[in-house]
């Protein structure tokens, strides 16, 4: 387990991408520790009387040269709404980097599948794969084209396929309905996913039936984020495990899905 830190970052930029997605760029005064895709930060929410706990957020992107990280925030409640309203120059306190991360594949053909705000860790993952000589391809699912975030950043790294539930962009339906998810002989051997649990369960089943390695990232409700409170557990073949320290990235076959 890598060393964890508790640190104040300064918000460099708050950029709104859609009606409910915001990307915060945070700068650290010193050199950043090494982080891996799939890891997360526990972000303190100040000035939010209705909430008490930190918010676990995926590390969306890292720039070691400028000591910046990005967090993709979907406004779902008072805590994330408060974070999304923060302005450049304000401080944000993070406990990081936390949890397990996606592994480098032993095969070359990979697909990264994100749904909703589950796309958050996949940009960092795509960059990491690219740096390690693997060409990432992305499949992004959203409710409609208004919910798609930052597609250009993904396109710089590889092909991007899209599904929307209302058909306003790409293939109509869920990610499983996209032609790349073909029934016979899919052209990938490794699938990384993050998003709503029903979507990931479908992808886990699809992968199991085709002998494809599937790594999923869970987002259970957390308190501490460091394996102390035992609140965020998920049932695995070895009993209840903490999503924050034994996860959030799990091999799908390890889960009781």
């Amino acid at each position: 387990m890598s060393k964890k830190y508790i640190t104040d970052f300064v918000i460099l930029e708050n950029r709104r991408h859609t009606h409910e997605f915001v990307i915060l760029t945070l700068q650290h005064p010193e050199m950043l520790p090494q982080m891996f895709p799939g890891q997360f930060a526990e972000v303190r929410v100040d000035g939010s009387p209705q909430t008490y706990l930190r918010r676990p957020l995926s590390i969306h992107d890292v720039d070691y040269k400028n000591n910046t990280i990005k967090l993709l925030i979907q406004e779902v409640g008072p805590g994330t709404r408060r974070l999304a309203s923060m302005k450049s120059g304000e401080k944000l306190n993070l406990v990081y980097p936390l949890g397990t991360y996606y592994s480098l594949p032993d095969k070359k053909r990979v697909l990264l599948v994100g749904g909703g705000c589950g796309v958050a860790p996949l940009l960092f993952l795509g960059r990491y794969l690219k740096e390690n000589g693997i060409d990432p391809r992305f499949l992004v699912g959203a409710r409609s084209e208004n919910d798609l975030v930052e597609l250009d950043a993904y396109r710089e790294l590889g092909d991007v396929y899209i599904t929307t539930e209302d058909g306003s962009r790409g293939t109509r339906g869920f990610v499983i309905h996209h032609p790349v998810m073909k029934t016979f002989e899919p052209d990938f051997d490794w699938l990384y996913t993050c998003g709503p649990e029903p979507m990931m369960r479908v992808l886990a089943k699809y992968s199991r039936e085709r002998n494809i390695t599937c790594e999923v990232s869970l987002e259970n409700k957390m308190a501490c984020g460091i394996g102390a409170c035992l609140c965020c557990v998920t049932p695995t073949i070895e009993g209840n495990k903490c999503t924050c320290t034994d996860g959030p990235v799990f091999n799908a076959n390890y889960l009781k899905w």
Binding site: I6, Y52, K221, C224, I226, G227, L230, T234, P235
Partner: protein
């Protein structure tokens, strides 16, 4: 130089700041954030006679200035604790107490007997107040005769420090505190979580798998202070105060109310370094107020 040391019965603490069971794991989880040896003590996770998987997810619901939990004593059992966990954490240069929880008097006695054999464990905290298990737990702590019976039975087999953790979910906590004092407890710690619940108005469903759970965090501090004050005024054994402590000022308030030491609980989840900072903050408080010994604060509340 200020003197932060306190004694809780036969237990010597370098300062009155401990961490509460269930909020600090086995201490190891907090190594990157706190110098464990700078704390007065830590109380490790609730330990039962055998392995427990705990309750199903969801086990936690956030509330204004607090949270509800229904973990349900997930742990590997006393044998695994003593053979695998204890050898790793026994080198912590602080008082490590084991929180003991059972479903029957026999189970409490069995666990306490096993811990009694490991001579370098300085004490146990008897958990008769866990609201999240179907059998035992809080049922022992909400009736005076059963609280006395389990304390007396454990006292017979456990020769070192015996702290009893009291439930606030009772009509008269003073009566129970006096009962366990009479049954041989060396100290009492209070309060455990308050029984509560949370509901999702959109789905008409409870937010916890167990429907009800234990409320903790700053929202319970006024209740905890009141109970500590009532109990400390009524018993002769030391009182350890907990419930929503998040700062050195909070800790001072509990000491003024009569607590000889405090436990920091849920605040560890929001700021994993908070326990160490509370120790530093107490020293700063004493310097500001020209107090040499922290024991001079204990029970100092002026109600005239």
């Amino acid at each position: 130089m200020v003197d932060l040391s306190v004694d809780i019965g036969n237990l010597q603490l370098k300062n009155p700041v401990m961490t509460a069971s269930g909020t600090f794991g086995y201490g190891e989880e907090y190594r990157d954030f706190v110098d464990i040896s700078a704390l007065g003590g830590i109380i490790v996770k609730g330990t039962t006679g055998s392995h427990r998987e705990g309750n199903p997810y969801p086990r936690m619901a956030e509330t204004p200035m607090g949270m509800l939990n229904a973990v349900g004593l997930q742990n590997k059992g006393v044998d695994v604790f003593l053979s695998e966990t204890w050898p790793r954490i026994r080198t912590f240069r602080t008082n490590v107490l084991v929180n003991v929880s059972g479903s029957t008097v026999e189970e409490y006695v069995e666990i306490a007997s096993k811990i009694a054999e490991v001579k370098d464990i300085p004490g146990i905290e008897l958990n008769i107040s866990c609201p999240n298990v179907k059998e035992g737990g809080m049922t022992f702590g909400t009736s005076c005769p059963s609280a006395i019976a389990v304390t007396r039975a454990v006292r017979e087999v456990f020769p070192r420090h015996l702290m009893v953790k009291l439930s606030p979910n009772v009509t008269d906590i003073v009566e129970i505190a006096k009962g366990v004092e009479g049954a041989g407890a060396d100290s009492v710690s209070l309060i455990n979580t308050l029984l509560g619940m949370a509901i999702d108005a959109e789905t008409w469903r409870p937010l916890l798998s167990t429907v009800t759970g234990g409320l903790s965090g700053p929202c319970i501090k006024p209740v905890a202070l009141r109970m500590v004050w009532q109990v400390a005024s009524a018993v002769k054994i030391p009182v350890v105060g907990l419930g929503g402590i998040s700062s050195a000022t909070d800790a001072v308030e509990f000491l003024l109310a009569g607590a000889s030491a405090v436990q920091v609980g849920t605040a560890n989840f929001v700021d994993p370094s908070v326990s160490g900072r509370i120790v530093d903050g107490l020293a700063g408080y004493m310097q500001r107020h020209n107090i040499e010994k922290i024991t001079d604060i204990i029970g100092g509340l002026d109600v005239s």
